[in-house]
């Protein structure tokens, strides 16, 4: 049942002039940050977080969603224009986008990426608006055992996709969870790793930790290559939107890729980059002319671009309904909810449906406005690629320091930011992904509380511990995601062996 009063309130909230202004500002900022190589959506959201401290819930969340959405699209502009993806999500776009740019069809490539991003975004918003309330209705019945299963699922999936080594991913994931055990024990008040300071009674603060992990570590890595120069041809930047004939030709690709992106976004940790690559390889597999991919064809641009923007709506489904972030950017977005005193999860749909509907409507409007703002801004924004890293590094550092302090008026939190930044830098240099670390840090408290409550409820009985049909379903899905790939490979190799024998 749609709550009409909540929908009416959502319209009123969203079309408030201040909120609309923030929505536009968010799109512009997101585009700018997305274009700058190295600064992806999590960093963009993290840097804007301190400003939302002074705002109401709806305008602040709309600002961050606009930044999130536009930053993912913004990454494709530098991917097309200079072959350097502004974000990880745009890596697949480089292949055909930059090839098209080099052929002198840069405007066409930029138009295709803009259109595909918007279509992908809109499809995922529709899925979000329909699926999230349904999932919330189911999730409201979840107890500790179900939340434990969901948390384990989220973490294991993140670890699996995070890098080449499973154990390295698991190690940093467990490290992220371990760090959430610092502070007073929520269940019995024991002091854990407080080291005699009252600052740690509430544990390590989420926002400074995530800002440090993403922003500080990124700029430290960027500082190493700060003097590398970027050169690109500024002509061929006039955007040409694809005509109806072209859209008709690409409609199957657009729909498939948007749905792939949405589904991959829903799976915790499988971010926009995975969605984009998956959609790209799927279209290449289906194509009658796969060797043309990578040479600069429209199909190779619309597939990754529609999929990566579709992951935004997808990632918000588990984030809003279960409090389990669907991506690192969504993990940072969770921090914004907490700043506003809101705890994402099934109860939020019951308690504040107006906010939920405002977010759905807001995402829809963001995608529509991005078309117009993108058309006007691309030509100017693309020149930002020339901003040297030597200016970006100190500015982002100062913004992070100042922003984190502004949220809490605590120098201790700046210390946490710095510590998390150094930790992020070290693990990234050693070849670890920070995605499991960040998701582990967000999921840690849910995992600990649900595990301890489940063990207490089970009272020593394994049968009782697993007496949860939903939980068993989630564990089965987890087993499927782990063993499906190896099983298919094994069957294929077996069949290949039989063919050779015959």
């Amino acid at each position: 049942m749609i709550d009409t009063a909540a929908v009416t309130m959502a319209f009123a909230n969203l079309f408030d002039p201040f909120t609309m202004m923030l929505l536009v500002v968010g799109i512009v900022l997101g585009l700018i940050v997305g274009i700058l190589p190295g600064l992806g959506p999590p960093i963009a959201i993290a840097l804007a977080l301190p400003f939302t401290f002074y705002m109401d819930a709806v305008p602040s969340l709309i600002l961050l969603l606009a930044i999130y959405n536009a930053a993912i699209y913004g990454g494709s502009i530098s991917a097309v224009a200079v072959g350097i993806p502004g974000t990880g999500a745009a890596i697949a776009t480089v292949l055909d986008g930059n090839a098209m740019f080099k052929k002198g069809k840069g405007g066409e490539a930029l138009g295709l990426s803009l259109t595909a991003s918007i279509i992908g975004g809109l499809v995922s918003v529709v899925c979000l608006a329909f699926l999230a309330p349904l999932l919330a209705q189911v999730a409201i019945k979840f107890g500790p055992r179900e939340f434990l299963a969901i948390s384990v699922f989220g973490l294991v999936v993140v670890v699996r996709v995070a890098g080449a080594s499973l154990f390295k991913g698991l190690l940093v994931g467990a490290l992220g969870i371990f760090l959430t055990t610092w502070g007073l024990d929520e269940l019995n008040g024991a002091e854990r790793y407080t080291f005699g300071t009252y600052h740690l009674y509430e544990g390590l603060p989420l926002v400074p930790f995530l800002v440090g992990l993403f922003a500080i570590s990124e700029v430290l890595i960027g500082a190493e290559k700060a003097l590398h120069k970027i050169e690109f041809n500024q002509e061929s930047l006039k955007v040409t939107l694809p005509g109806m004939k072209m859209l008709k030709r690409l409609k199957g690709n657009l729909m498939r890729s948007s749905l792939i992106g949405t589904v991959i976004g829903i799976i915790p940790g499988e971010g926009a980059a995975v969605g984009a690559f998956f959609a790209y390889s799927e279209e290449k597999r289906r194509s009658a002319n796969p060797e043309a991919f990578g040479t600069g064809i429209p199909e190779g641009i619309v597939a990754p671009e529609s999929a990566n923007n579709a992951t935004v709506g997808g990632a918000l489904i588990p984030t809003l309904t279960l409090g389990v972030p669907g991506s690192p950017a969504a993990a940072v977005l969770l921090g914004a909810f907490l700043i506003q005193g809101l705890a994402p999860g099934p109860t939020l749909f019951e308690e504040r449906p107006d906010i939920m509907y405002s977010l759905f409507l807001g995402l829809f409007v963001i995608n529509i406005l991005m078309l117009f703002i993108g058309l006007v801004m691309i030509r100017f924004a693309a020149k930002l690629i020339m901003v040297p890293m030597t200016v970006i590094v100190p500015t982002v550092l100062l913004l992070s320091f100042t922003g984190v302090y502004a949220v809490s008026n605590s120098l201790f939190n700046v210390g946490v930011l710095l510590g998390a930044g150094v930790l992020g830098y070290v693990v990234r240099k050693l070849g670890y992904s920070i995605a499991p670390l960040s998701i582990g840090f967000v999921l840690g408290p849910i995992l600990e509380n649900s595990l301890r409550q489940s063990i207490t409820l089970a009272d020593g009985s394994v049968g009782e511990f697993l007496n949860t049909p939903i939980g068993l379903g989630i564990y089965a899905a987890l087993a499927l995601t782990i063993f499906w790939g190896p099983a298919i490979t094994w069957v294929k190799s077996r069949n290949a062996g039989k063919v050779e024998d015959s």
């Binding site: 269940l187 100190p394 500015t395 302090y405």
Partner: protein, 152 residues
């Protein structure tokens, strides 16, 4: 510059040492009063995570010692060149110094220091970049103090 193999082996040794240290601290966790007897002890979950971290660290350690790499390909070195290592580590030192300058002499001193110091660490020679960074630092200060009312 610094092989991934050696760096990861050292990191795993430090991780294992850290696990032992934190596990020892966890032995001293005590719940207050009546709550002490309710449910699982407070040390249960941290020890579980430390055990998992230690297990993974041992496996990664063994992988690097025996195979030399944790993936299918050669992981190479931590830094592409000594110059990149120098710039990266010097920037890190500048950032840490910035924090201590803030805690000792206040925010303004840090804001003036951190931009030029990181530029110096990155090997910037252009005065225009230094000027731009200082102007941007001034803008950040003004935005937070005048627009958001932050007090440093």
């Amino acid at each position: 510059m610094f092989s991934q193999r050696l760096a990861n082996i050292v990191f795993m040794v430090l991780t294992l040492a850290g696990c032992i240290y934190f596990a020892k601290i966890a032995q001293g966790f005590e719940a207050a009063g009546l709550m002490a007897s309710s449910g699982l002890p407070s040390k249960f979950f941290p020890l579980l995570m430390l055990g998992l971290i230690a297990l993974c660290a041992i496996i990664v350690f063994a992988t690097y010692v025996i195979k030399g790499t944790a993936s299918d390909k050669d992981e190479g070195t931590l830094y592409a060149s000594p110059l990149e290592a120098f710039r990266g580590l010097l920037t890190l030192i500048a950032v840490i110094a910035g924090y201590f300058i803030w805690s000792t002499w206040g925010y303004l001193a840090m804001a003036v220091f951190i931009g030029p110091a990181t530029c110096l660490a990155m090997g910037v020679r252009s005065p225009a970049i230094y000027a731009t960074v200082l102007v941007l630092a001034g803008s950040v200060y003004l935005i937070f103090t005048q627009l958001l009312g932050t007090q440093f």
